[in-house]
Assembly symmetry: C2
């Protein structure tokens, strides 16, 4: 399993609509092959910052299966307009975890 992490900077004043759109968009990733789980969290210190975590079974489930899908076009149309700057997205593997 791998973890996708995106630090999202949402244009100030658009957070409420971003959260509405994300609520719609999340069903897209949940339906994709290799999807395991996800979380969207809002920053306490800066309400225009969010962090998105998505666990995928493999790296390619995200980078190929999702990003090259038709569903990604809908995801993008719902969410990408809110980001400034466009986020860096990286992938991680667990070293330690408890529990």
């Amino acid at each position: 399993m791998i973890l996708e992490v995106a630090m999202l900077n949402v244009k100030p004043g658009t957070q409420e609509q971003f959260e509405v759109n994300f609520g719609e968009a999340q069903s897209i990733i949940e339906s994709m092959h290799g999807y395991v789980s996800h979380q969207l969290q809002r920053c306490i210190e800066d309400a225009s910052r969010y962090i998105l975590f998505v666990n995928w079974q493999t790296l390619e489930d995200h980078t190929v299966g999702f990003r090259e899908s038709k569903e990604y076009d809908l995801w993008r149309s719902l969410l990408h307009e809110f980001y400034d700057p466009f986020p860096e997205v990286l992938h991680y593997q667990s070293v330690y975890q408890n529990p």
Copy 2:
């Protein structure tokens, strides 16, 4: 519950020792009041980057209870030498999650 997130840039060439020291240090946070869970994950695209997640019952369990403790001095002595630059640490609250 709140999530502490630290993006860690570890000096190249020191990752192996950092992971050894983290393996020792994690028992420190696990013993603190308000600790819930943690994960250390290594970046696939850049092996000098890690992300640390710690769930705490409250923000103050981290910012006051842990950071003002004697145990924090030991945590710092085990880990802070590896970071360049010193990480920004932010806290998050869940907006959506599945499951």
